[in-house]
């Protein structure tokens, strides 16, 4: 139906209030403007590539099973393999130290190579790289499931209560308040204590069921303002049903808020999962998650710190990247956000003016 247009069609002639500022957005749809602003955000773009690259890296490392279909991974160990604990090349008294080396030979190191066990081995000799990969897979999965479930419930609850107001709003918001008063970490511990053996999927789903509250409040607020806008009245006069008004007219205008807070919800989710697993109520052995790895080896911090470093490094990278992406999205969706101009911009722009923009 209606598709994006080319920029060549003549610009609107009689200039509006912000004729000059509109030059930046001429001939673009809202989506294109947001995308443009997002692409300009360096931190967010870098983070996006980091997280995508990391997903590809982590999910292809180990064998994946989908029912009877088995996709082999590129890493030569699995989490179940039990190779001998290696002590050659380690400091005195240590076993299973990492073989990863990133210091090139010309700087006096041993050259860049992965070695047999790049992240070392755990107590019983399992390959720590494989464990960290499995843990990162679990954590990312939990993150996406919580984001999806929390996002969906939060949006629906917020939309319904913001749009209908009155007693429906009152009931839904008191329910939200009620859930907010219970700390998620306690719900997680209680449920995890009783049903922890049901697996990581179950964990993700029930955490998702409790993490939509903040989002639903935001969406409700957005709906409350948007429903008073005149285009909603216009749609109603045109004969639109409530459903059409919610989904066709209001929701697309609230999508910025939703995307941004779901992203931030996801970065919170990964920390929540880690915290629960660390406490022993999240992912339980024999399954692996990043939080569980840290929790298992917290005693070894002084003697074998790599058991601590690598899962920690992954947690930080994932949480930071997602946060940066959320930040970039928020800036992109905020129309008031204008690009700051630097001294360099000022100087390079002068040249353009001289070569003929000015009359």
């Amino acid at each position: 139906m209606f598709k994006k247009k080319v920029n060549s069609t003549s610009a609107p002639q009689d200039g509006g209030e912000n004729a000059i500022f509109n030059k930046e957005t001429q001939g673009l749809s809202q989506g294109q403007i947001v995308l443009r602003r997002f692409v300009r955000h360096r931190g967010a773009m870098t983070s996006l590539f980091v997280i995508l690259g990391m997903m590809l890296f982590v999910f292809t490392a180990l064998d994946q099973k989908f029912g009877s279909l088995k996709i082999p991974g590129w890493w030569h160990y699995t989490t179940e393999d039990l190779p001998d604990l290696r002590s050659i090349g380690c400091k005195e008294g240590l076993v299973g130290c990492p073989t990863l080396s990133i210091k090139p030979t010309f700087l006096g190191g041993t050259g860049v190579h992965l070695g047999e066990h790049p992240f070392g081995q755990d107590d019983i000799g399992r390959d720590y790289f494989a464990l960290v990969m499995r843990g990162a897979q679990r954590s990312m999965m939990v993150m996406f499931v919580i984001g999806a479930i929390g996002g969906a419930i939060g949006t629906v609850v917020g939309a319904i209560s913001g749009f209908s107001r009155g007693w429906i709003d009152a009931i839904l918001m008191r329910l939200t308040d009620f859930i907010i008063t219970i700390p998620v970490i306690i719900i997680g511990s209680v449920v995890g204590y009783h049903f922890g053996n049901l697996g990581v999927g179950f964990l993700a789903i029930y955490l998702g069921l409790f993490s939509w509250t903040g989002l639903s409040r935001l969406v409700r607020g957005e709906f409350l303002t948007l429903r008073e806008r005149e285009f909603v009245d216009a749609a109603r006069v045109a004969g639109a049903s409530n459903r059409r008004i919610i989904f066709k007219h209001i929701l697309p205008n609230a999508v910025g808020v939703i995307i941004v807070s779901v992203t931030l919800l996801m970065s919170g989710a990964i920390l929540l999962e880690t915290a629960l697993s660390y406490l022993g109520f999240g992912v339980v052995a024999p399954d692996v998650s990043l939080g569980l790895l840290i929790s298992n080896y917290q005693d070894s911090f002084t003697t074998r710190p790599w058991l601590f470093w690598y899962p920690g490094l992954f947690i930080i990278t994932i949480a930071l990247s997602i946060n940066f992406i959320g930040d970039g999205l928020r800036d992109a969706f905020d129309p008031r956000q204008r690009r700051r101009i630097t001294k360099k911009d000022r100087q390079s722009a002068k040249a353009v003016t001289r070569t003929g923009v000015q009359k």
């Binding site: 139906m1 209606f2 598709k3 994006k4 247009k5 069609t9 003549s10 609107p12 002639q13 009689d14 200039g15 509006g16 209030e17 912000n18 004729a19 000059i20 500022f21 509109n22 030059k23 930046e24 957005t25 001429q26 001939g27 673009l28 749809s29 809202q30 806008r229 005149e230 285009f231 009245d233 216009a234 749609a235 109603r236 006069v237 045109a238 004969g239 639109a240 059409r244 066709k248 007219h249 697309p252 205008n253 204008r338 690009r339 700051r340 101009i341 911009d345 000022r346 390079s348 722009a349 002068k350 353009v352 003016t353 923009v357 000015q358 009359k359």
Partner: protein, 549 residues
């Protein structure tokens, strides 16, 4: 010879957008003496407000200013922050358009005036308080002892503007920059504020730089006028020169576009007075109440209202803000519930009608909203917005719908290619045309136009009104035209109804209302409208003052 307060020479402002400098003000020259008023007029985007802010380096960081601005022989551009701070508020004071946003809502107006005073003078709190009280008295705020402790939201629009003027005058500034000081106000309040400013200017011998798009206000106040278009000063002269002998074609066009009261010929009623047809819209004894919300008591917005609109006529509904005009318009198409009384559209009762009946009646009605920025869904291409009523009424879809949309765009004189554009790409006037196209999509019998021109520039407004008249003559729909601007209603309407505080005070033929008003309020309303002619305006002003005494 009076002292020169402001001298602007070779003043340029550019804005940086996406790597390119776009000029907003080009080579402006201006001199202003104490006790004089110079008006900068022009349409939105012409660089008036940019000039005002640029004088004291108040522009955003993506602006570049060059040239010279001298206030009392002191250079302001690229001056040190300390010098600027010393001059701002003390020598150059600002009055902004919207006092609600220009005053800080968490402080009392007294506090804000005292703050200005103590920033610039070595003054104790008691002394400053006394001076603030004196200032509030000077601007005629009722009960200044009490008002000094009031917060901005506790005052009415006119009082807020007075408080802001008091704050601006706190340090007896040599130059007062008034950026659209009365645009947000009703005509009667506007007249009072302009009187106040004129009086104070004479008393304090300040110079005023008045920025406005309203030629009536200019005629009322200005000694000299500067006409701007796209950043360029197209004409500069005394008020008499500009109004009576405009040289530049743009000035002529601008003056021609200003609607004047009583300048158009009477439009004949489309029906005979003796044989009235069945009314399209019939409001009988309508009372509309905004229900109680929490501790805010219920508010009766419209009371015992009666109005009939017959096929093919335009009825203008005028009144000041808060008089209930918009409420009547919204209730007429069932957007607001009615407390008592009856509203009939083509013989069908809509007060208390259910959703199904309402949506079938709405096919015979259309509405054009006030704010073109908010009345179109920013996420829908305008073609879809226009086609929505047709699509939802299941009249056409797919290729057939596309054709109908193209037809509608042709009708409102927009290029067909605009179908795929988004509202933010269009100017205010174009958006308002889209609003009409959407309202006319189902060829309604009744069109409600709720202040459709209040957000538009005069020349755009003139074009819009022409278009509306043309369409109305072609399609013969009945129209309820809601406006606060008598001059606009004068151009369009066959009949006029005047509202005050939710009551209908007068209703009748256009000429009967405008030329021989019976009601006092109507008379006041008409006399408060400034006329874009300095000589005539002076006579009217004196007549109005006499009326007040």
């Amino acid at each position: 010879m009076s002292e020169q307060v402001l001298k602007i020479s070779q003043f340029n402002v550019d804005f940086w957008v996406d790597g390119v400098w776009y000029p907003a003000v080009i080579d402006m020259n201006l001199e202003l003496n104490a006790g004089k008023v110079t008006a900068i007029v022009g349409e939105s985007g012409s660089g008036k407000s940019t000039t005002a802010l640029g004088l004291m380096s108040l522009l955003a960081s993506n602006a570049r200013v060059s040239g010279s601005v001298k206030v009392k022989d002191e250079e302001m551009l690229n001056a040190k922050a300390l010098t600027l701070r010393h001059f701002r508020g003390k020598e150059v004071a600002y009055i902004f358009q919207e006092p609600m946003t220009a005053l800080n809502p968490v402080y009392t107006i007294g506090f804000q005036i005292i703050e200005t005073l103590r920033n610039h003078f070595d003054m104790g709190p008691t002394q400053a308080h006394a001076r603030a009280l004196e200032l509030l008295k000077m601007v005629d705020i009722p009960d200044p002892e009490k008002s000094i402790n009031k917060y901005p939201h506790q005052l009415s629009g006119g009082q807020r503007q007075r408080a802001m003027i008091a704050q601006a005058l706190a340090c007896d500034p040599g130059l007062l920059v008034a950026d659209e000081p009365t645009t947000a106000l009703d005509v009667t309040v506007q007249a009072e504020i302009l009187d106040l400013m004129r009086g104070l200017k004479d008393k304090l011998n300040s110079a005023i730089l008045l920025i406005t798009h309203d030629m009536g206000v200019v005629a009322d106040m200005a000694d000299e006028i500067l006409v701007m278009k796209d950043g360029i000063t197209v004409e500069h002269g005394t008020a008499d020169q500009i109004f009576n002998n405009p040289q530049h074609p743009y000035t002529q066009e601008l003056l021609g576009a200003v609607p004047k009261l009583g300048s158009t010929v009477k439009r004949a009623l489309p029906y005979k007075e003796s044989a009235k047809p069945e009314p399209v819209l019939k409001l009988t004894d309508v009372t509309i109440e905004y229900p109680k919300r929490g501790r805010i008591p219920a508010f009766v917005a419209v009371k015992n209202f009666n109005l009939e609109i017959y096929p093919g006529e335009i009825v203008g509904l005028v009144g000041e803000s808060g008089s209930g005009k918009t409420t009547v318009g919204r209730a007429s198409i069932g957007l607001l519930p009615v407390k008592s009384g009856s509203i009939e559209i083509i013989g069908q009762e809509i007060a208390g009608a259910n959703q199904k009946l309402l949506s079938s009646i709405r096919r015979h009605t259309g509405i054009v909203f006030q704010d073109p920025a908010s009345s179109l869904n920013p996420r829908l291409p305008i073609g879809e917005s226009i086609g929505e009523p047709i699509f939802l009424a299941k009249i056409a879809k797919g290729a057939e719908l596309e054709l109908m949309i193209e037809d509608l765009l042709d009708q409102v004189e927009l290029p067909r290619s605009y179908r795929n554009r988004y509202p933010h790409e269009l100017s205010g006037g174009q958006r308002q045309r889209v609003g009409i196209a959407r309202a006319l999509a189902l060829t309604p019998d009744l069109l409600i136009a709720d202040e459709p021109t209040s957000a538009l520039d005069v020349s755009v407004q003139a074009r819009f009104l022409d278009l509306l008249t043309e369409l109305q003559e072609k399609l013969k729909f009945a129209c309820l035209f809601i406006s606060h601007d008598l001059a606009v209603v004068d151009i369009l309407a066959h009949r006029i109804a005047v509202m005050q505080n939710g009551l209908l005070v007068e209703e009748g033929d256009r000429d009967a209302i405008l030329l021989h008003p019976k009601n006092d309020y109507t008379r006041r309303l008409i006399s408060a409208v400034p006329v874009p002619d300095p000589a005539e305006q002076r006579i009217r002003r004196e007549a109005r003052l006499a009326l007040k005494k």
